[in-house]
């Protein structure tokens, strides 16, 4: 049964140290940023995070040392530059265990998790040193062909941002959807699903959305926790509602450079203002 609550209460209840979390979204789109900010506000640490393409979400969490283990194919600020805290965590502090995947291998591992198969074979990893770093990546032969077999990803919890949810927990996605599978892939492999939405709606409104041709992104039966977080993906983008806020991300990139300015950033944009004021 779906639990609907406030972001404060449900983040506190559900997100605990050592939890394995997959994030929806990718590359400055559709990241569950308000949940990330709430995790920081509540000072939750020791997270194990899976994200296909990490950006501001990961860099913020690394900046406050909330991540213990990280799985991704890329962590940076696309178009803008390096993710400062990612580099710092890896090069100087060595405070995070980072496991680099290729994009396809991570997608296949998400899909394997969703199917309940424990591992999956693919070819694109052949010849990559990424395989050598992983005891759980194996070179195997099937019918005379070589493959790399990677383990399924099965997080405890997926966190995604979406458009709307009705009172049953059906989650809706805008009519002309794009990029939705960046969120459904990491969601379907997880044991539980935490969704932040732009707005809560009534069941009646949900039915109207269906009549208007919206699709259900997740069904009530697949959803565990729902919170309302207007503009909850900001500063990542959520087309067609809002674009990635490249100006803000450049500001972040500059302020992340030094501890003093990063603290200012946190005070200003994570702790300092109410959610409404930020947007």
């Amino acid at each position: 049964m779906v639990v609907i609550g406030t972001i404060e209460n449900l983040v506190k209840k559900v997100i605990t140290p050592d939890i394995k979390i997959s994030f929806g979204g990718a590359a400055l789109f559709l990241k569950p940023m308000e949940v990330v900010r709430e995790i920081i506000r509540q000072e939750i640490k020791d997270l194990i995070i899976y994200t296909l393409i990490g950006d501001l979400d990961i860099d913020l969490l690394l900046g406050v040392k909330a991540i213990k283990e990280l799985h991704s194919s890329y962590v940076g600020l696309p178009m803008i530059g390096m993710a400062r805290h990612f580099r710092k965590a890896m090069e100087k502090e060595q405070s995070v265990d980072f496991y680099e995947w290729t994009e396809l291998s991570m997608v296949r591992a998400f899909q394997a998790g969703a199917m309940g198969t424990p591992a999956i074979m693919l070819r694109s990893l052949l010849g990559s040193d990424l395989v050598k770093l992983r005891e759980d990546f194996e070179e195997v032969t099937y019918r005379g062909m070589k493959y790399i077999q990677v383990p399924a990803i099965t997080p405890d919890l997926a966190i995604v941002h979406a458009y709307a949810a009705d009172q049953n927990g059906n989650v809706f996605y805008p009519k002309h959807h794009a990029l939705d599978e960046f969120s459904t892939l990491p969601a379907q492999c997880a044991k539980q699903l935490f969704v932040s939405v732009e707005r809560m709606i009534t069941n009646e409104e949900g039915r109207e959305l269906i009549q208007q041709g919206q699709s259900t992104m997740f069904s009530s039966i697949d959803v565990d926790f729902v919170v309302e977080a207007p503009k909850g993906a900001w500063p990542s983008g959520f087309p067609p509602f809002y674009a990635s806020d490249m100006g803000h991300i450049m500001t972040y990139s500059g302020m992340a450079n030094m501890p003093e300015t990063f603290d200012m950033y946190l005070r200003e944009y994570v702790f300092g203002k109410s959610q409404e004021a930020v947007q």
């Binding site: 696309p78 803008i80 680099e100 899909q111 010849g127 990559s128 067609p240 990635s244």
Partner: protein, 270 residues
């Protein structure tokens, strides 16, 4: 740079990338490497209007008349573009063109942080991977594309010995070696065929798999290219000069394919 030109090196990189594209081919470009996105759109606006391509894993053949960056970052352009695309895909469908039953994509474009004489690329780490001296963002799909697209075009915004190394510190994606590809059964995928930089265009010798010079840009010299490369390049006797951008290419690039100059992100960052 020994000569002055009426265009920037990054312009020639983008235009040279576009020229590597043939009409009616199929391809994928990520959204995070600006010059690749611009080059594809420039090719479509010039000689390759029938390119079949996935943009951002969603649009198939998006709007031919607008720069692609705008589609992703302007919500009105996003909605507008939907009515002009030839089709709509889903991310998972795209991945079926990488590994799956469908035909192989003709090419992909990547931007390596390090590349060696055999076309191995490193977008991961310098030094011990567990205690890196330098941590790159990661390969994303670069390693996948090398083993799943028929050929790969690489570009390097700044040609120097940090990027062009004898042997990469870490193999994020395996190079062009025909022998290795034969041994492992990946002969349908040739690996990197061409590397476009701000000094030259490089390719790989078909049998040895070693990097060689195809042409040098009109504003650079062969000594400059060799000095900025950390290994001995095979250099042909008569080195062709890279064809300079035409006025039409430059016009379309500046006014339509990339009016916001997002290609400059590539020359600023690396």
């Amino acid at each position: 740079m020994s000569k002055s030109t009426d265009y920037e090196p990054i312009d020639l990189i983008v235009i040279s990338l576009a020229r590597e594209i043939n009409d009616s081919e199929s391809c994928y470009t990520g959204i995070a490497i600006p010059s690749a996105v611009v080059a594809v759109q420039l090719a479509r606006m010039t000689h390759a209007p029938n390119l079949q391509f996935f943009y951002g894993g969603y649009w198939i053949n998006p709007d031919l008349d607008v720069d692609l960056f705008t589609i992703m970052t302007d919500t009105e352009a996003f909605v507008e573009s939907i009515s002009k695309a030839q089709g709509f895909s889903h991310l998972v469908q795209l991945y079926q063109y990488w590994e799956g039953p469908k035909h192989t994509l003709s090419f992909g474009i990547i931007r390596p942080a390090q590349i060696d004489q055999f076309g191995n690329i490193n977008n991961s780490v310098i030094g011990d991977p567990h205690h890196p001296k330098f941590r790159f963002p990661g390969g994303a799909a670069a390693g996948d594309i090398i083993n799943t697209c028929s050929r790969v075009i690489a570009y390097v915004p700044r040609h120097d010995v940090r990027t062009f190394v004898p042997e990469v510190d870490f193999i994020t994606g395996r190079g062009s070696s025909p022998k290795w590809r034969k041994d492992v059964g990946l002969t349908d995928y040739q690996g990197i065929k061409t590397v476009v930089t701000d000094l030259a265009i490089l390719e790989f010798h078909p049998s040895s798999g070693k990097m060689c010079v195809r042409s040098i840009h009109e504003f650079s010299t062969i000594d400059e290219v060799q000095e900025n490369t950390g290994f001995d390049l095979e250099i042909p006797k008569d080195i062709p000069t890279t064809r300079a951008p035409t006025k039409e290419e430059l016009d379309i690039l500046q006014s339509k394919a990339d009016p916001l100059s997002i290609r400059n992100f590539d020359s600023r960052n690396r």
